[in-house]
């Protein structure tokens, strides 16, 4: 099961990791909270309490960096993103070490091992098991060496080996836990996906007694026509007023019919929601079922939210020379980036699975762009 070692949980099941980006912040926050408790409990035993508190923002920054780099609208989390987080954590470790060296703190109460472990473990949902091992080795060794350097002059109860093991113990635990977690999620998910049987089809019923709103408008016109036609047929002769009324009804009905037949599925959504669609080539109908489902989910969620001005939602589709279709969706959303992400990220992830080159530009006017490959 080589794939279980080389793929990350986020890769094998992106939708299940919607809440993932918050995990690193929670991990670093919890580690710093434990640090605050330990620093306070052993207040007099540090050589510099100030340096302990100065070390804490490094770990918070590591969590924030990982969180930012794992947002749904970012590219795949990469080793250099992990390296930045780990370097920040090592920075915090060194600052804390400076404030511990020369004090009387027992090695067992050094909090930074837990914080480095939390940084490492928070990478697990976005990293493969192999990557976790690669990240773990330097993190564990650095923590062990720094621990030995700081505590060897202070501790006489423990041997140097024991001091090293105690210092790196939390990091080792974080590394083992993170690696096992990553491997298990990928292994189990792939095993279940590979072996599933059965139909994915589900049932579709459209109630014949509940036609669309547009069809209802046709129905209303037609309902007026039926008695008129029956009346003319039963009378057996056509009067000038019949001809005038027939011409009037025919014009209106033809307009309605043309309107129905020229609509794409996106026009149907626009008709229901009030957004504006610019699709002169009816390119929306080139989208496959998955793309339609994902885009409609994003649109409906945005349009149903009170902070979105429906009239500002504009979606444009244009044919590209290579046969693909470029799509740009702009929405005025009166929300800060974080809340905007919470609102739309799951739908963004769903869309990301089905289209190419998806990008999300934040600003007062949120702009989502993607490309539908040719030949669909």
């Amino acid at each position: 099961m080589r794939r279980a070692w080389t793929r990350s949980p986020q890769e094998v099941d992106p939708l299940s990791w919607f809440a993932g980006p918050r995990v690193p912040i929670l991990f670093s926050g919890a580690a710093v909270a434990q640090g605050i408790v330990i620093v306070t409990l052993y207040w007099d035993q540090w050589s510099s309490v100030l340096l302990q508190f100065l070390a804490m923002p490094f770990f918070l920054a590591a969590g924030l960096t990982t969180s930012a780099n794992t947002q749904p609208n970012r590219r795949q989390f990469a080793p250099h993103h992990a390296a930045i987080a780990l370097l920040l954590a090592v920075g915090g470790l060194l600052v804390s070490a400076l404030g511990t060296s020369g004090g009387t703190l027992p090695v067992t109460q050094w909090w930074t091992g837990i914080a480095v472990a939390a940084t490492l473990a928070s990478l697990a949902p976005y990293s493969s098991a192999v990557q976790m091992i690669v990240y773990s080795i330097p993190a564990t060794l650095v923590t062990g060496f720094v621990g030995l350097a700081v505590f060897a002059p202070l501790e006489h109860f423990w041997s140097p080996t024991a001091l090293t093991v105690i210092s790196l113990g939390p990091v080792l635990i974080g590394a083992v836990c993170g690696t096992v977690f990553s491997y298990t999620v990928v292994d189990k998910t792939l095993a279940l996906l590979d072996t599933s049987v059965g139909s994915e089809e589900s049932f579709l019923k459209v109630d014949p007694a509940a036609p669309s709103e547009q069809l209802g408008s046709i129905a209303r016109v037609s309902a007026r026509v039926a008695p008129f036609l029956a009346g003319v047929a039963n009378a057996g002769r056509i009067t000038p007023s019949d001809r005038a009324l027939a011409a009037q009804i025919a014009r209106r009905l033809r307009t309605e019919l043309v309107s129905v037949t020229s609509r794409s599925w996106l026009d149907v959504v626009a008709h229901e929601t009030g957004m504006v669609v610019s699709d002169p080539g009816r390119l929306a109908d080139r989208m496959n079922e998955s793309q339609r489902a994902a885009l409609r989910g994003l649109l409906v969620t945005a349009l149903e939210n009170s902070v979105v001005d429906r009239s500002t939602v504009l979606i444009e589709l244009r044919a590209q020379p290579d046969g693909s279709t470029a799509v740009a969706l702009s929405i005025d959303v009166d929300l800060p980036e974080g809340r905007r992400l919470v609102l739309l990220a799951p739908y963004y992830l769903t869309l990301k699975m089905t289209v190419d080159d998806l990008s999300w530009d934040n600003g007062e006017n949120m702009l989502v762009r993607f490309r539908i490959p040719p030949g669909q």
Binding site: D13, L26, I166, S199, K205, P211, L215, E289
Partner: protein, 413 residues
């Protein structure tokens, strides 16, 4: 893509395995570190009973990893409590001066006892088991301290381990709850897209019909002769009749809310669950358990039969002691996901003569227009997901308990 319920179960299992890995590391550290501490201190030989205690804990942990179940969890807690007692007593008896400096090493088995994990798909039981492990370890430590007449030293590590362990599973529980309310159900979105497409197809057919009938008739009135002949009259009347038959003249009805009222299936499900609980399978029902919808009697019978067959399979073949049924509802279908964390099986290796899943679940569900999907692999448990159509509008064909009982019949699991 895995259904959300199955993916959630995988995540819980992965966090539990992570906890077991940490427990194993803690036990190995105790096994190697404590004798080293003895040797360095120039004490007498390290007590064999303490080594055996940790080895026994490791063996119970391996059993838990290989075969997670209620039995192996309880076994791990019992063996673990005894192990912590024997380890602590052996290490400290006559060497109480090791405290408090060596506490970080000698309370490793106690930390391992906290990390008991869970055998199921849901995170909250893991929290309760963890608290149980912590209390057992603390109780044993207090007992040893009392017997050796030394001050009670619990150390920070077990409490810290419990806090982090509970935070992980509680966090997972919160994430899964948030997912249920915020993350879109992709399959449901896909169904809605299909419904729009079907509705557009109906529209286009209606347009063609109107074009061929009404517009032609109106053109005849505008341009035709003053006096209609019999053929023209007959055609116009026939067109009016065609429109009436095709329902296109119906006014747009307001959307009708699905009626409540089918308590029959819910009662039937509860009866099945109760039956299996008596037979030793702990079954938990979650999801849209309070949802109300109508199904045709034969569909209710199929749902009940498939549910019974799925649980029967778990009881007979999976080795699991618990199962979870997750109910979810869309506009067109009711879906049941039956999860177990048993030994799973290789679906491709099922013989043609095995009728369990094929006839009792697939056959039964598909015969009434439903669909079934099964995920299973050796060592990864099994998830059976079946969906059945619900009726869009209330009608007199409401299922009754007796109908369903009569049609569910015996299963062939």
């Amino acid at each position: 893509m895995l259904p959300r319920a199955v993916a959630a179960g995988v995540t819980v299992a992965a966090v539990a395995r992570g906890a077991w890995a940490i427990a194993a590391v803690c036990l190995v550290i105790a096994l190697i570190g404590a004798p080293e501490l003895y040797a360095r201190g120039g004490y007498t030989a390290f007590p064999v009973v303490s080594v055996l205690a940790v080895v026994a804990m490791l063996a119970a942990l391996v059993a838990l990893v290989i075969r997670p179940s209620l039995l192996t969890i309880v076994l791990y807690l019992v063996v673990g409590s005894a192990g912590v007692y024997l380890f602590l007593h052996g290490v400290l008896d006559g060497h109480t001066s090791l405290l408090p400096s060596a506490l970080v090493l000698i309370n490793r088995p106690e930390v391992a006892l906290v990390l008991v994990g869970t055998a199921g798909h849901r995170p909250m039981p893991a929290v309760f088991w963890g608290i149980g492990g912590f209390l057992a370890g603390a109780g044993v430590t207090v007992l040893v301290c009392a017997q050796l007449a030394i001050p009670i030293e619990l150390g920070n590590a077990p409490a810290l381990a419990l806090a982090n362990y509970c935070a992980a599973f509680l966090g997972l529980s919160l994430i899964q709850r948030a997912q249920r309310t915020r993350v879109p159900d992709y399959l449901q979105l896909r169904d809605q897209a299909r419904q729009i497409e079907i509705a557009r197809g109906i529209e286009n057919r209606s347009v063609a019909l109107l074009h061929d009938t009404v517009l032609n008739d109106l053109a005849l009135i505008i341009n035709g002769p003053e006096q209609l002949d019999g053929r023209m009259t007959a055609r116009m009347l026939a067109d009016v009749q065609t429109m009436s038959d095709s329902n296109i003249l119906a006014e747009v009805p307001t959307a009708e809310v699905l009626d409540a009222g089918d308590a029959a299936l819910r009662n039937l499900v509860m009866a099945i669950v109760s039956d299996f609980q008596w037979r030793g399978l702990n079954v938990e029902v979650t999801g849209d358990t309070g949802a109300e919808f109508r199904m045709a009697p034969e569909v209710v019978a199929a749902a009940a039969g498939a549910l019974r067959a799925s649980l029967e399979n778990i009881l007979a073949h999976s080795g699991a002691e618990s199962a979870e049924i997750i109910v979810s509802l869309s506009n067109t279908a009711a879906t049941w996901t039956v999860n177990d964390s048993g030994k799973g099986f290789d679906i491709s290796a099922i013989g043609a003569d095995r009728l369990g899943l094929r006839s009792s679940v697939f056959g039964r569900v598909e015969s009434v227009g439903g669909t079934v999907k099964v995920w299973s692999a050796p060592g990864n448990g099994t998830s059976v997901l079946f969906s059945l159509p619900i009726m869009l509008a209330p009608s007199g064909s409401e299922a009754t308990l007796d109908d369903a009982h009569a049609k569910a019949g015996p299963t062939d699991a």
